[in-house]
């Protein structure tokens, strides 16, 4: 069902633009800069994320990670530079077309209205239905399957206001999944998750990448998890990307020490990287 959808989507895109290169990067940032009033947050950032890759964005607080993710999600307009999605400028997609391809999970997801978790996940289907059409049984199946993929199906009927922070994060990720995107942009999706759910989320994202080819770019401070979960790591400092590459290249004493301005130590053992910082 999913593969059908992506095939039609691919042919549509090919139909529109014969130059689409299936092996090219899914999303590409070219010299992005952005400043809040006059405070620069992202300065001349370029990056490429291949199709179906799991990318991670690390860096100290205030280094511009969230701003970069918002730029890539199309929520902020860059002061200069351009985002290229599927070989076409991201700005050429209207909001709803963009929402079918790129899903964004914000950092905070608090709401005052007691929506059920299922209602929240169902909003992820809205790009696919019209202004005056309600979600169909099919949409509901997809929403439930999305919760299911994160082992959160038991939350479906619960009120979002009664859930713990971590459960709410799972529901928000499920909504992103219900958008059936090609790219998921996650802003600290695991910050409130306990060890079990953190592992479960990483496992689910990896499964989605393997089974459906969904690419992921997530901000995280959990460096230990990255080693096993991420294909690519981008490290930001002061609005710039200072290092990028596979985990073993970025998760080193030298790079991390520079990124965090702190004495970070790493150790490789059993094919895993252990990260800690000296007091």
């Amino acid at each position: 069902m999913k593969s059908d959808l992506s095939t039609t989507r691919a042919t549509q895109i090919t139909g529109r633009d014969a130059l689409v290169n299936a092996d090219g990067p899914l999303i590409q940032a070219q010299h992005l800069s952005f400043a809040y009033s006059s405070l620069p947050a992202v300065a001349d950032v370029s990056l490429e994320l291949p199709r179906g890759a799991m990318g991670a964005l690390i860096g100290a607080n205030g280094s511009g990670k969230s701003t970069l993710i918002r730029l890539l999600a199309g929520l902020l307009k860059p002061d200069s530079g351009e985002m290229i999605f599927n070989d076409a400028p991201l700005s050429t997609l209207d909001g709803r077309e963009r929402a079918k391809r790129i899903a964004y999970v914000p950092q905070s997801t608090a709401t005052v209205f007691p929506f059920t978790a299922l209602e929240v996940v169902l909003t992820g289907r809205s790009p696919y239905s019209g202004r005056f059409r309600f979600e169909s049984a099919h949409d509901e199946q997809i929403a439930l399957a999305a919760l299911d993929a994160l082992d959160a199906a038991h939350l479906a009927a619960r009120h979002i206001t009664e859930l713990s922070g971590g459960e709410r994060q799972l529901v928000t990720v499920a909504r992103a999944l219900a958008q059936e995107p090609e790219l998921m942009l996650l802003d600290e999706p695991a910050s409130a998750l306990d060890l079990k759910h953190r592992t479960q989320l990483a496992r689910a994202l990896r499964r989605l990448r393997d089974e459906r080819g969904i690419a992921v770019l997530m901000i995280t401070h959990d460096l230990m998890l990255l080693d096993s979960a991420a294909d690519l790591i981008f490290a930001m400092k002061c609005g710039r990307i200072v290092a990028s590459g596979p985990p073993e290249a970025v998760l080193t004493d030298k790079v991390l020490g520079e990124v965090y301005d702190a004495p970070v130590r790493t150790m490789r053992s059993d094919g895993r990287t252990f990260v800690w910082s000296e007091l």
Partner: protein, 366 residues
Amino acid sequence: MPSFANKGLNESDTVELSGAERHATTAKLSQSNQARVGVRLRVALPLLIIFLIIALLIGLYVGYQPLDLAALRSDPIARAVFLRLRLPRVVMAGLVGASLAMVGAALQALFRNPLADPFTLGVSGGAALGASIAIALGVGLSFAGVPLIFIAAFTGAGLSVFLVYRLAHSGGGVMLPGALLLAGVVLNLCASAGVLVIQYLASYGRALQILRWLIGSLDVVGFDLIWKMLIFLIPGWLVLVANARDLHLLATGQESAASLGVDVRHTERMVFIASSLIVGVTVSVGGAIGFVGLIVPHAARLVFGQDVRVLLPASFLLGAAFLILADTLARVAISPGELPVGAITALLGGPVFLLLLRKQQRYSAM
């Protein structure tokens, strides 16, 4: 490391267990269609229409003199009284109630605050100030000048919405519920101070007229005024309904809505204009009738759930029925005298507001 050796085993255990669990949940949920919004709306609308018809019949029947169907058929005076006084008044109550309730539901979604309402946000206050200025300048002396009052009240309402939004939305996309309500309170205070100054400066006759008008009444003779109102109200209603889906998405969070393709700025602007138009017109006719936009959407939420696409039409119908009944009560409570209907809605609305405030404190504590 023994902990790693166990890892594989534990993993498959968890997956199997939660797998069985999840299938049960999925089956249960898809069996009961309760969650489906379309279904909920199809249940809600007929129920509410029946309720509205009952309210209409009660409103038409009850009065200083109960409706006498035989007299209505034979006596032309009784017929004239019914057609030119009671029927228009009940229709007017319905229009004002429906309008205020739907605007309340829309503003609550837009501001993500269950305490938002034309009254608590100071929008009615702004409209009242605009209308008072119009009356003091003499443009409101006759009903022929009513559209000018509409425009003055619309301008006042629009300015208030804009100010409240700017005050509570000081950058960063985060809106503090407390800041929003405080901004509304301050605006209301400023607006009523403005009205006092105008009353003080205006001639005795006009000051009295402003006072009578501020108290508000749904009294109306014939349908002329109602047609004039509908010219402004219907476009306002349609804009709100057309934005129902985007308002629903906004109610779940501004950033999420934007990422789902909602043009947040555009939606905000459309809802602001439509709300100001509706509030301006209803306030310039019926005075500031408070809390309808607060009580009614809240009641609709309790019965029909949180989906804004259901809440807007549900609040519209329920608001009409509510104000018809409240106005009927106002007409007969101290018969042959009459209570201002705004007093009744405020007496009911105050406690509801306090209850909601308590509840919200609990939410925002998170």
